[in-house]
């Protein structure tokens, strides 16, 4: 008898709870838009202050402006099957507009665009790729690329102009195209400054490396420590959470009065490098405006002109890449030169190669 009562009570409790939950959800969403926007995260967390977070911020901003339902899912691993499962889960829950940030989604998006034909997909830093390795962007998908080489170029230029002489280093995550393009652009930026502005910065082959993951924080710290011990003055770190370790090492050294600069990546990482008051170990950041790109595509879908089937490139010409608007660690004349070079990139007067050529790694 007693047990039955408990069971009854529990049932009532859950039913009421569910009803109450529904009520709470519905109240503020009177003219809710029909579009539900989902996102699947790549390696790392939604709060990585980098790639995933940038994308999600774009989604959230669109949701606020247009009153949308949003949800992100974190796959349990980084294989095609893991990604596809979460894309399928979002689809089944009605989230048919899905943003996937990351080169590693290429094969999963190829599957998804065929499997869920009324779904809409945005892949950032890659294109849907069939099993033979050919890019196939169907009508329900948009592939988004950024000109990382331009972003890296500007950061390299700014670093060289600010430091004037010494050694520089580079730590990449996985050796994949977006990360490589940052590296090659950075080296070209440093060379450009050496040739045109009389600076004298060098990069040794041993100090240009790819760690091999985006989440090994300890390795990020240890690699940065080794480089700084060998008198490297600044390291460009394009490696997700690996960079968190590197920034932490730079902070500790700056706090001790040593010189140890980090050049951030993807988003403005100045705040990550703060070690005292508002002084930061992050010199500047090579940014790509993932949030803006994501926002623009959601907006386009709502307005009925989703550029399905297209491959978009965000570069200096459409303000898709650059360094932060404010750089407290850069001198005014450095920022002026960078701004000047930026206009040259926009006009096409100056071209940054996205190939390795005879650069390091």
């Amino acid at each position: 008898m007693f047990k039955k009562r408990i069971a009854l009570f529990l049932v009532l409790f859950f039913v009421l709870g569910t009803l109450a939950g529904c009520g709470g959800d519905k109240a503020p969403s009177e003219q809710k838009n029909d579009l539900k926007v989902g996102m699947v995260t790549d390696a790392g967390t939604i709060d990585d202050k980098s790639f995933n977070q940038g994308t999600w911020e774009g989604v959230v901003k669109a949701a606020e402006d247009f009153n949308l339902d949003t949800r992100y899912l974190k796959p349990s691993g980084t294989t095609e099957a893991d990604y596809l499962r979460e894309i399928g889960n979002l689809y089944d829950a009605g989230y048919k507009f899905v943003v996937c940030p990351g080169f590693k989604f290429e094969t999963a998006i190829y599957e998804a665009q065929n499997r869920y034909e009324d779904g809409k997909y945005v892949i950032i830093d890659g294109s849907p790729v069939d099993p033979d390795g050919n890019a196939v962007v169907k009508e329900n998908t948009v592939a988004v690329y950024f000109a990382e080489e331009q972003s890296g170029f500007l950061a390299g230029l700014a670093t060289a102009l600010q430091l004037k002489e010494g050694e520089l280093g580079y730590i990449g995550g996985m050796e994949i195209p977006p990360v490589q393009k940052y590296n090659w652009g950075f080296q070209q930026g440093v060379q450009y400054a050496n040739e045109n502005y009389g600076t004298n910065l060098t990069m040794k082959a041993e100090n240009v490396i790819y760690q091999g993951s985006f989440d090994n924080v300890a390795a990020g710290q240890q690699l940065a420590a080794q480089m700084f011990d060998k008198d490297v003055r600044a390291i460009f770190v394009a490696a997700g959470s690996v960079g968190i370790g590197s920034i932490n090492e730079a902070k500790a050294r700056m706090g001790n009065g040593e010189e140890a600069w980090i050049i951030g990546v993807d988003v403005d990482q100045y705040a990550e490098g703060i070690y005292e008051g508002d002084k930061s170990a992050v010199l500047t950041s090579a940014m790509k405006y993932i949030d803006t790109a994501t926002y623009d595509l959601i907006k386009a879908e709502l307005e009925g002109n989703f550029p399905g089937g297209e491959t978009l490139v965000f570069d200096a010409a459409n303000n898709g890449v650059g360094i932060p608007r404010e750089n407290p660690n850069l001198d005014d004349e450095v920022e002026a030169i960078v701004a000047d070079v930026y206009t040259k990139l926009q006009s096409g007067e100056l071209v940054v190669s996205n190939e390795r050529g005879d650069l390091l790694r």
Partner: protein, 315 residues
């Protein structure tokens, strides 16, 4: 070669310390007879609590915040380990499953709490501990550069705990009782020892130590809580077995793992090591462990009653 070793050593020690203290926590639990594969989860709890407390206090109490954070992490780890103790000791649950549950809960719960308390799943601290050379000692030839250069205060704190733990386990009555509970709980019970109480204390200590390990990661090399400790808890468990459930043994085995992992991590930037393929360096510690386990398996020193719930009626 020598310059390579001395340039890596301080960072290898920094990496070893969280492993060492966590493995020592595992030692307490397992020597009392309770398997604790929840070390990973307990480390996550520690890194979360440490990061949260430090992030909240570092503005108002600079200097003390780090130590308060480490202490808070130990308390939180001890409390969290109570779950494991309750399941294993009172409910006689399968200790492997309980430990797995701890790992799963910790990873999700901490990120959930972090997002609700701070608005972000990653908690960032502004200042960690700084590295310092120990005056005078650093000038000792050979070992000075290895052990006394660029050390964190937390390193010495943990080594002190290791020393105290050895004393507790091998020179005090409580230690003898604890080991007895792991070898032959019925005999211990017959001698008037309350097995449940001893095991409870041991599991709580293991939680506190593992959590301290997690918090040390935050204040030394990572600087940010992100919901995981990258498998270090399992590595600590492997060190515990490799070190044959002895304090000195785990000191050696964690140093081995710490040094080998650090070499693998930094080999790319060291010209002398760059020619060795990274995959060999990265897998070396694990292959060495497997080989060592093959050799030690005959003479394994595992506590006899490890993993068995204590059942008074069973003789």
């Amino acid at each position: 070669m020598w310059s390579i070793i001395s340039s890596i050593f301080p960072y290898a020690i920094a990496f070893t310390i969280p492993l060492l203290i966590t493995a020592l926590g595992g030692l307490f639990s397992e020597r009392s007879g309770v398997v604790n594969i929840g070390l990973e989860g307990l480390m996550v709890v520690g890194s979360f609590t440490g990061a949260l407390v430090i992030a909240m206090l570092e503005k108002s109490l600079p200097g003390y915040a780090i130590w308060i954070g480490l202490l808070a992490a130990m308390v939180a780890g001890g409390l969290f380990a109570l779950l494991h103790a309750f399941a294993c000791i009172n409910l006689n649950a399968n200790q492997i499953i309980s430990g797995t549950a701890i790992n799963m809960i910790a990873g999700s719960l901490t990120v959930y709490l972090a997002r609700n308390i701070t608005g972000s799943g990653n908690i960032h601290i502004v200042n960690g501990l700084s590295r310092k050379d120990i005056p005078l000692l650093v000038d000792i030839p050979i070992i000075g550069k290895l052990f006394f250069a660029q050390t964190y205060a937390s390193t010495w704190f943990v080594l002190l705990i290791v020393l105290a733990s050895w004393f507790l386990l091998y020179r005090m009555v409580f230690g003898l009782r604890l080991r007895a509970c792991g070898e032959h709980p019925h005999a211990a019970d017959a001698a008037g020892i309350n097995v449940s109480v001893v095991r409870y204390i041991a599991v709580i200590i293991s939680g506190a130590y593992a959590a301290l390990g997690g918090a040390v990661i935050i204040v030394t090399y990572s600087g940010e809580f992100n919901g995981s400790v990258a498998g270090l808890g399992f590595l600590a468990l492997a060190s515990l077995i490799f070190g044959q459930w002895k304090p000195l043994g785990i000191l050696g085995s964690t140093l081995f793992f710490g040094f080998a992992s650090t070499v693998a991590n930094v080999s790319q930037v060291i010209p002398g090591l760059a020619s060795i393929p990274g995959i060999i360096l990265k897998t070396f510690p694990y292959i060495a462990t497997l080989i060592a386990l093959v050799f030690f398996s005959k003479s394994s020193q595992a506590p006899k009653a490890l993993g068995e719930p204590y059942d008074k009626g069973k003789r």
